[in-house]
Symmetry: none
Subunit: 143 residues, 4 copies
Amino acid sequence: MLTITRLDISDARILIEGAAAKATEIGVPMCIAIVDESGNLIAFERMDGGKVTSVTIAQDKAFTAAAARKATHDYNAVCVPGNLAFGIHTEVGGRISTVGGGLPVSVDGEVVGGIGLSSGTPQQDMACAQAGIDHFLAARARA
Amino acid sequence: MLTITRLDISDARILIEGAAAKATEIGVPMCIAIVDESGNLIAFERMDGGKVTSVTIAQDKAFTAAAARKATHDYNAVCVPGNLAFGIHTEVGGRISTVGGGLPVSVDGEVVGGIGLSSGTPQQDMACAQAGIDHFLAARARA
Amino acid sequence: MLTITRLDISDARILIEGAAAKATEIGVPMCIAIVDESGNLIAFERMDGGKVTSVTIAQDKAFTAAAARKATHDYNAVCVPGNLAFGIHTEVGGRISTVGGGLPVSVDGEVVGGIGLSSGTPQQDMACAQAGIDHFLAARARA
Amino acid sequence: MLTITRLDISDARILIEGAAAKATEIGVPMCIAIVDESGNLIAFERMDGGKVTSVTIAQDKAFTAAAARKATHDYNAVCVPGNLAFGIHTEVGGRISTVGGGLPVSVDGEVVGGIGLSSGTPQQDMACAQAGIDHFLAARARA
């Protein structure tokens, strides 16, 4: 039997809170998805003005980051024609995302979930995803 | 009428055994899928720590290798923009994999199945897939 | 944070072993799928003669049983026109199975995975799934 | 290793010929699909006037009949609310067909493929599928 550590709903809310604060700061309403370590959705918020397409994209980014334990921008870097990982973006029914904005969430060196942001540029999505993680880890450090 | 030769469940277990031994040796827990010559799954194992996304990817690599009778890294080599094979990775509902790690399994010059590995780098996946085939062919040579 | 208990690959092999023994006893080669508590595949075997359609059906039964924490025959009982649960069988892209043969695997009152059998009648599939669980629990009791 | 017997393209043409003759006789242009024992398409013809929806339905009927080794009308008989097999019609991404008109093709007691008809009533589809098989078996008996 395996013992797995996974984000709970309180953790998910804190991750969203941190990401949404950054999104508000940069003036880009976002879709924000939090998944557990298996890639299944725990919480989701579409800020007023977030894109409808991003409802799915944010979830796919979070899924990819958590279930593959790899940032979507890291997949982006290797998903280049001629590279042996090219084509990964169409796998799992197209759910593998290679668009920046999905990050694994790790605690004590173990992936416990993922966060995915979508509606801005990939750079904006990445910054907000990181802000969610920073806020979450800071809250843990204070606890 | 056609007469087809195909891996059986005992063959599949030997292929998995060889691939898993290599995965253990290099320290990368893998998802390992074995399919028959038509691409249908015979056996699958996710080693403890194998990635969830790789559950599907390993199966798609094995499917591609067996059903198209071509290593996925050979598809990768031709799936380059401007090349006439570009786009093959989105075909068959996205099940065609161009990511290294899927190999056809051949006996007496005939494809009898496929093996797909996923969770490492494409190079690691390829090495473990080959190790599965080497182990299987060695077992046949001894029999 | 949540702490989750989940089947490992050794547990999955024992579940398959018990189910396959029963399938052999009744003379019906089966497809056997074992998933973790989130519904993701850990191990699969298609016994020689198992049906190709059952490759997917066995996995969907195991997925449903584990991820919904409910036997597929219990969903069958309520999936009757006029009952408010009718239609559940088409949900999650059709992956929710209401055909008998999927059982959650529980340890100490907690669902830690699922087992799905397919290729026989639903009654045969159910008997083999239960045999897998009985074998697994007996092995745990001996350990 | 397993040895499998499967329809070849000449067999498939004979099956279509028999089914199409019956379809012409009853005045209903049909879609006719022939698959191998794994459910993969060998040959397909849409008679002039065959329905577009039937392009897929005929293939799914043939797939189901061959890969599950069971006539689609036999699945229909057990796919009744309250019966433990109810819900089978939505499995395998909805490809399992419970509509009459799909028959396994057997030679010497072994399923070697499947035939699926669609465009008429289920009774008409079934009659034409059977006519294809009768024609095929008669040709074999003469050979």
